[in-house]
Symmetry: C2
Amino acid sequence: MAEVEKVSTVMAWELTLRTVSALLKVYDRTFIDKLGIPVTWYDVLVSLSGAPDNRLRAQTLAESVAITRPGMTRLVDAIEKAGLVRREAAKEDRRGSYVVLTDKGELTLAQAHTIHLDDLETNLGRFLDAEDLSDLHRVMNKVWTGHLSLSGRRAMHIETMPAPGPQ
Amino acid sequence: MAEVEKVSTVMAWELTLRTVSALLKVYDRTFIDKLGIPVTWYDVLVSLSGAPDNRLRAQTLAESVAITRPGMTRLVDAIEKAGLVRREAAKEDRRGSYVVLTDKGELTLAQAHTIHLDDLETNLGRFLDAEDLSDLHRVMNKVWTGHLSLSGRRAMHIETMPAPGPQ
DNA sequence: TAGCATATGATGCATATGCAGATACTGCGA
DNA sequence: TCGCAGTATCTGCATATGCATCATATGCTA
C-alpha cells in the first residue's frame, strides 16, 4: 500500500509538472505574441489591480508573484519603462516606494485578461468538466495548504518539522 | 453553471500554478542542498536511465526535458564536466552525438531518486490520499492529452509517458 | 553525382533572475 | 541624542536559457 502510493505520487507529479510547464510556455508565448509582454508582467499587473489604490510596496509585490526582491527591482524597471506602472516614493517610509498601476497599465491588463481567459479556456477549461475542476482545485488546495504549513507561511526555510495534519 | 465554470478554471489554474511553482522551488533547493546539482540535471539523468543503453541523442534529450537544443548543449556541457554523462560520436550519423550516462551518473541518479522520493512524499504525497492522486492524474492526463493534440503531437516521449489511464 | 533542402549540434548575443553586498532609512535602547 | 540592528531597495556578478545563426553532415532529386 505504501509502496503503491509512492509510485502514484511520482506518476501524478511528473505528469502534473510536465503539463503545467507546457501550459506556462503556451501562455507566455501568447502574451508575447499578442501583447508583446511576458506573463510575469501580467502577474504583476494582476497583483497591483487587486490591491488598494492599485498600489503595492515592491516587497509585497515580490512575495505575491514569488520572485526575489532584486528580481522585482528589475521587473518593475522594465514594466515602468513600458509605462504600465510607475514608482512613487512612500511618504511614511522613505526607504521604500510604491509600485502603482498607470492608466495604460490598467488598459493593458484588461486586454491581457481577455486574452488569458480565452487562452485558459482553449488550453485547459476546454478539456475539463465541472467535476474535474473541482477535483483539481481540491487537490491543489490540500497541497498548497500543506506547503504553507511546512514552510512556515513566510520563510523559504525548508526543514522537516512536525507538520500539523492537512485539513 | 457555465459562467461559474469559467471562473473555476481561473481559480483552479492559479492555485495549481502557485502550488506547482512552490514545489518546484522546494525540489530544486533540495537537490542543490543535498547533492549539489540542480533539478534539471536530475531530469536529464532520469531520461537517460530510461533509454536503451542509457543513451540518447541530444535532440531527443532536449525534447524529453522540454528545453531547446542550445540549452541542452550547455546543460550537457555542465553535466559532462561533472562526470555524470559523456558524449559519444554517433557512428551512423556523423552530425550528431549521443549523451551517455556514466557509472558516476548512475550512482548520483540513485541517490537523487531516493532524495526526490522522500521530498515528494514530504511535500506532496503526505497531503494526498489515493483518491486525490487518482483524481490529479486523471485531470492532468486530460489536459496533457488535449495539449498534445493542440500542439500537433510533438515528440515528448520519455519512459514516464502519461499512463494509459488512472488506475 | 552535383546541388539543394533539411537536420544536428555548437556558438554569439540577449534577457531573466538569483545571491551577495552596498546604500539609505527607520526605530529601539542606552 | 547616539549608535546599532533591522528593513527596503538597488547594483554587481554569475548562471540559465532562449533565439538567430553557423558549420557540418545527410539524403533526396534530377
